[in-house]
């Protein structure tokens, strides 16, 4: 890797739809909390920031039991801000390149490593699979797919919340990470395999997916 990179994992939210009484990053996936599954793929990175809010003590304890050199960023206003609010706190004083990773997202390890091993700016899309997707509008040029916008109505791919961009281009915001990406578009799209965990159905699906080697049955 030629540039320094900060990974920002946003784990401040409450995960109310999942009904687990804890933040989604701590949900158990095949014997391990989701956040630990993410951290296992980030061993090579020195600047990892976990944004915490709801039940921060619990998240800190779980993360510390796995790895001590994490910088926790606190989002005390987590009830009133979206992932964009947490990401905006995480990118303050960050390295040249920053990676946005939602705390409720499982990414196929091979795909995540591919994105992270490159210094290319990108937004990551998946084949639509959730009940209420945020679509990415795309454009194909010279054999490459570019993300050009976001939509609740249409798009070939689903926005995953995973992106790798230059820190200085980002304008902080309180809403969603995708809102912060809009001024940067078009950006090359990387197709990744992911499972987002919002509902109980998502959870069951994600467990099966991990059991099957991060692939659909």
């Amino acid at each position: 890797m030629s540039v320094s990179k900060t990974i920002v994992i946003s784990c401040a939210g409450m995960g109310t739809r999942l009904g687990i009484g804890t933040t989604k990053a701590l949900v158990d996936i095949e014997g391990k909390p989701l956040i630990i599954r993410q951290l296992e793929l980030l061993e090579d990175f020195k600047d990892i920031r976990v944004v915490v809010g709801y039940q921060m003590e619990k998240v800190i304890e779980v993360v510390n039991s796995y790895r001590k050199d994490i910088l926790f960023v606190t989002n005390h206003n987590y009830r009133n801000t979206g992932t964009g609010g947490s990401f905006s706190l995480g990118i303050k004083h960050a390295a040249d390149m920053v990676v946005a990773l939602d705390g409720d997202l499982l990414v196929n390890p091979e795909d995540l490593r591919r994105v992270l091993s490159s210094d290319k700016e990108c937004v990551c899309g998946a084949v639509p699979y959730t009940e209420d997707p945020m679509y990415m509008k795309t454009l194909v040029q010279d054999g490459k797919t570019y993300g050009v916008g976001f939509s609740r109505e249409e798009g070939e791919y689903e926005w995953t919340g995973l992106a790798q961009v230059k820190t200085k281009k980002l304008i902080p915001g309180d809403r969603h990470v995708c809102d912060m990406m809009v001024p940067l578009l078009p950006l090359e799209m990387e197709l990744v395999r992911t499972k987002e965990i919002d509902t109980m159905a998502d959870y069951e699906n994600a467990v099966m997916w991990v059991r099957n080697g991060y692939k659909d049955m």
Binding site: N64, D69, I70, L71, F72, H76
Partner: protein, 199 residues
Amino acid sequence: MFFFDLDATITKAEILQEIAEKTDKKEQIDALMKNVSEDVPFYHTFIEKIMVLKSVPISTVRNIVNNISLSDKIVEFIRENKDRCYIVTSVPDVWVDALMSELGMQERYFSTKAISQGDYVVGIEQIIDKGQAVRQIVEETGCLSVVTGDGNNDAQMMVVADVSIGYGGVRAVSPTVLKCATHVVYSEDRLCQFLRQLL
């Protein structure tokens, strides 16, 4: 500008506890701490501890303080960036002045001011207001302010700083610090890596 708590941030042990353990005051301090709860203001217990420890000669206390292990990486950061760092401590000036000199920070620290006679502390002239210390320097310089600390009394500094880091490398970060810090970190290396990103 970088502001560091001393006790259990720069030092690897709690200073007043260390003084008690190295003298005959341990039982008295332990008895005092038994009755302490989160509801008792920090400085109430702090003054009671000073009153117990004041019968230890200043020269003995300085010697004990100078022998407490320090967080090497934090000290290295302070030495490298001396003109941008301050140490802010509740521990009385006459007990820490020798350590401050050793760190080259004799002109760059804020502390509680003790009244001394001969080799003994006889009273307290002024308890430090950590928040006021930070505010004063920030108003003078207008620089980005970065505070690092762990205890309830460090929250005073944290609420006025731009970046406030709860450091849990020596002992647990206090609940109050967790509620107001912008960042929390448990490794000294990681803390210093972040501090360098803030330079």
